[in-house]
């Protein structure tokens, strides 16, 4: 009964943050659709940033909230953070400024999420190694100091993209197993959907979010 593509036991909410132009939307797109679209903006419509992955034999639906990247909205995008199980913090290895802003992003994330939220640092555009502005070692040190996981990735080539998302999920799943993450707290960003032992009584809902109107 858990074989269907829409059967999963958990939903994890991710947010993806960082300065504008670092490649957040591209990373998301690469992860969900395994595609890189150079200068084309990315859809958040239809299945809106979701993909089902498998961690330790458990199907997990990742739901990634892309945020508006414009600087002017920086101050108001705080409500995105609420209830995120994972936060992907992205900078552009070819632009130092994006790296320098990381501390403020980190502060926001720490303030606006719960302690169990897993924060993953991604140095994007690793394919542009020639224009590198931030060394791997420097960023790695920053990550270690702040207890973040870290990879350099490329939304263009897809290198390490999958890993970043999967590692985050693994870490979250671990916290659940450890009991560090309270599934019942709405802020946890994790929704548990216990697998059904019997056959489903109700027909699968035609639309997940049916409403009264």
């Amino acid at each position: 009964m858990t074989s269907g593509p829409y059967n999963y036991s958990y939903i994890f909410k991710y947010i993806i943050i960082g300065d504008m132009g670092v490649g957040k939307s591209c990373l998301l797109h690469q992860f969900t659709d395994k595609k890189f679209m150079a200068d084309c903006p990315h859809t958040i419509g239809v299945e809106f940033g979701t993909r089902i992955i498998e961690v330790a034999g458990q199907k997990i639906k990742l739901q990634i909230w892309d945020t508006a990247g414009q600087e002017r909205f920086r101050a108001v995008t705080r409500s995105y953070y609420r209830g995120a199980a994972g936060a992907l913090m992205v900078y552009d290895i070819t632009r130092r400024s994006t790296y320098n802003h990381l501390s403020s992003w980190l502060t926001d994330t720490r303030n606006l999420t719960n302690p169990s939220t897993v924060i993953f640092l991604i140095g994007n555009k690793s394919d542009l190694d020639a224009q590198r502005d931030v060394t791997y070692e420097e960023a790695k040190q920053f990550a270690d100091e702040n207890g973040l996981m870290f990879v350099e990735a490329s939304a263009k080539t897809g290198q390490n993209v999958e890993e970043a998302f999967l590692e985050t999920a693994k870490k979250i799943y671990q916290s659940i197993q450890d009991g560090r993450l309270d599934l019942n707290a709405a802020e946890s960003g994790v929704q548990h959907k216990p697998a059904s032992p019997g056959r489903p009584l109700a027909a699968p809902p035609s639309s997940r979010d049916n409403c009264a109107c």
């Binding site: 009964m1 939903i11 909410k13 504008m20 939307s25 084309c40 903006p41 990315h42 859809t43 958040i44 419509g45 809106f48 739901q63 909230w65 892309d66 945020t67 508006a68 990247g69 414009q70 002017r72 909205f73 101050a75 108001v76 995008t77 705080r78 409500s79 995105y80 609420r82 209830g83 019942n184 709405a186 802020e187 960003g189 929704q191 959907k193 216990p194 697998a195 059904s196 032992p197 019997g198 056959r199 489903p200 009584l201 109700a202 027909a203 699968p204 809902p205 997940r208 979010d209 049916n210 409403c211 009264a212 109107c213």
Partner: protein
């Protein structure tokens, strides 16, 4: 049901004014509203009843339900309305609580329970559970009844719990408590064996179901979950609304969103998005509100088409939509969803994502500065100092244009539909005309067939002296003769007498007949009558339907005295009666002359008819007869048309009938005459 309770709750309001507090006067017929507010109220009620057959017996805070619907009228009228509403909101806020308590007291009175405690006396209207039952059957037809009962029981405790704690707790605590309730139900589903066979998707639907019904009811209660007492939600609503008015000058270029005001499609999408935003206030539970937001966001995302929209485009466009919509009670709505929506849903899912974007848009609007619009501080201040009515006219105009366009589209669609229907009707009419034509042909053919058979028998028996003199015997077969171009049956019958007559003489005779009809001179007529009486040709025709139809009264009037009236001849006496009434109206009042049971005067269509009578019919056939044909149901009717022979009757027969009008069966038969009451009422 709700509103009927209102009068007792109106404590200190001026009864003359509309209960909504608008400047118009109310009317008890409209439950104390002015006509406009009443109409709105009724619509709302109907909508609510349709949505779920709920009716709350608790007083709704109608004044606060200032839902503006989806109508996007001009911006100016919006703001005026909003202002008016907000002005009251402060006082209402206080009275709402009071009302609620008053109501509770009312219930105690009704049930004659004299107790100070509130909980036991508070009753959730059964309609809530009836609605739930029906909804359950629709949504989960295959679930065991135990789950249905379970869900209802849970909603019951949920509602009571919230109402109980709302008075004591602050909003955040209450919100937490509600969230705990959701979790409690989730746990219950996990542990109870009734739910063993229910998969997790269905469980989510169930918890939605529970939330929907509980919150829909609670939403209607004043100051419990929506703009709860102890919060300044309403004040914030007002502040927000005023702020949006102030910012009406903000356009697409300030927000750097790719919107083209001159593009009709773009306007249309924005208009739709705004409609959804405005509709959010009308939705009662968070799920429905979220659905509105989701639809709104989808329209907004399509604004960026043909390029697919990204998160970078969504927010600015959404901000613009909020600015142009100025949705009613925006902050209250957002807080309501944030606090009392099942948090799991809000954290995840598309609805949650878009709702979060809406929250961002709102907080952006609240904190908007020159910087955030990347414009000069001076310019910004200048815009802000400007009266709200000046700015934003371009978009307001564009959007109201959009509204008008949509209405026009609707109208034209309707017109097209009507046109289609007209065509359909026309087609049917043509069909019908064709049918009628063929029918006419058929009948004509039949009649001619009959005619072809009959004349041979008729001819020798005709003993009209005048006609015989002119050589009746040499008449040609009648089948070829073209009858007067009337309808099928009567003309054919009318033909018959003339068929008998020699072709050469026909015109003469016909001419004579016409004259006879118009001027009812007596003597030749009588002559002819007695002549024609002997004709057996008409006797042959008696079984034909024509004879069953009303006859002409003249023939009988002239031949019979009232004493001799044959009972089975309908309508005859009516003529007399009409005439009598004009002279002796007082005598014929209903009171003096009660209708005798109509035992004898039943009209027997198969009763033998005098030949004279039948012939008369043929002879005097005219357009009146056609009329009578149509109303077979009431053969008496015929006498009420203007009688060309009135003078005749007046002269010789009228008096006689007067004398016996009370005793004769005529009186009874005349009752259907519409003339009678008139005459008796006003003596002439």
């Amino acid at each position: 049901m709700i509103t009927s309770k209102m009068p007792s709750l109106r404590i200190d309001q001026n009864d003359l004014k509309c209960k909504n507090g608008c400047d118009y006067f109310g009317n008890p017929q409209w439950q104390g509203y002015c006509s406009k507010c009443h109409r709105e109220q009724m619509q709302r009620q109907r909508k609510a009843e349709k949505a779920s057959s709920f009716t709350s017996t608790l007083p709704r805070s109608d004044q606060r339900k200032s839902e503006r619907g989806l109508k996007l009228s001009s911006h100016a009228s919006f703001s005026k309305f909003e202002e008016k509403r907000l002005r009251q909101s402060e006082t209402l806020k206080k009275t709402n609580l009071l009302k609620f308590n008053v109501f509770k007291k009312n219930i105690t009175d009704d049930h004659e329970i004299s107790t100070e405690r509130r909980q036991p006396e508070f009753k959730i209207p059964t309609a809530v559970f009836e609605g739930m039952k029906a909804d359950f059957r629709v949504r989960f037809p295959s679930f065991p009844p135990q789950i249905d009962r379970d869900a209802r029981g849970f909603v019951h405790t949920f509602i009571l719990d919230v109402i109980k704690w709302a008075a004591i707790m602050n909003v955040d605590e209450l919100s937490e408590r509600v969230q705990k309730q959701y979790q409690r139900f989730m746990k219950h589903m996990e542990t109870s064996q009734h739910y063993a066979s229910v998969d997790s998707d269905a469980r989510e639907l169930l918890i939605d179901f529970v939330e929907k019904h509980a919150m829909t009811y609670l939403h209607e209660l004043p100051s419990i979950v929506f703009s709860p007492s102890g919060t300044d939600d309403e004040r914030q609503d007002r502040a927000m609304s005023e702020r949006i008015q102030q910012l009406s000058w903000v356009g697409e270029k300030h927000l750097e969103c790719k919107l083209d005001r001159n593009n009709a499609e773009c306007r249309r999408l924005l208009y739709k998005a705004i409609s959804e935003l405005l509709g959010m206030d009308a939705a009662r539970w968070s799920g429905a509100k979220l659905a509105r937001v989701r639809r709104c966001a989808r329209h907004v995302l399509r604004l960026a088409a043909p390029a697919p929209a990204s998160a970078d485009d969504l927010l600015p466009a959404l901000i613009l939509a909020v600015l142009k919509a100025n949705p009613p009670r925006l902050i209250s709505n957002i807080n309501y969803v944030t606090r009392f929506c099942n948090a799991q849903r809000l954290m995840t899912g598309e609805g949650g994502y878009y709702f979060t974007n809406l929250c961002c848009a709102v907080s952006f609007i609240q904190n908007m500065t020159a910087e955030s619009l990347s414009m000069d501080k001076k310019e910004f201040d200048c815009y802000m100092a400007m009266p709200a009515s000046i700015g934003g006219s371009a978009w307001a105009a564009a959007l109201s244009l959009c509204g008008a366009t949509r209405e026009a589209e609707e109208q034209s669609a309707l017109a097209a539909k009507l046109l289609e229907q007209t065509k359909e009707i026309q087609r049917e009419a043509e069909n019908m005309a064709n049918n009628a034509a063929t029918f006419e042909e058929q009948i004509a053919k039949k009649v001619q067939d009959v005619l072809a058979k009959t004349p041979l028998e008729i001819k020798p028996r005709r003993e009209l002296p005048r006609l015989r003199r002119e050589g009746v015997g040499s008449a040609p077969p009648p089948t070829t003769e073209p009858g007067p171009a009337r309808t099928s049956e009567p003309p054919a019958l009318l033909n018959e007498p003339s068929v008998v007559i020699d072709e050469t003489e026909k015109l003469n005779i016909l001419g004579f007949e016409v004259v006879e009809e118009r001027s009812p001179s007596k003597s030749p007529q009588l002559d002819r009558l007695s002549d024609l009486k002997q004709s057996s040709s008409t006797e042959l025709l008696t079984p034909s339907p024509m004879v069953l139809t009303p006859f002409d009264c003249r023939s009988l009037d002239e031949v019979l005295t009232p004493d001799e009236f044959p009972d089975n001849i309908p309508g005859l006496s009516d003529v007399n009666y009409d005439i009598d009434l004009s002279d002796f109206s007082a005598d014929t009042s209903l009171a003096e002359d009660p209708p005798a049971p109509d035992r004898r005067r039943t009209f027997d269509p198969f009763a033998p008819q005098t030949s004279k009578d039948s012939y008369k019919l043929l002879e005097s056939f005219d357009e009146f007869s056609i009329v009578d044909n149509a109303r077979e149901s009431d053969p008496y009717e015929v006498v009420h048309r203007p009688d060309p022979f009135g003078s005749v009757l007046d002269n010789d027969e009228g008096r006689a009938s007067i004398l016996d009008d009370s005793g004769s069966p005529t009186a009874a038969c005349l009752l259907p005459s519409p003339i009678q009451p008139q005459n008796s009422a006003k003596p002439t």
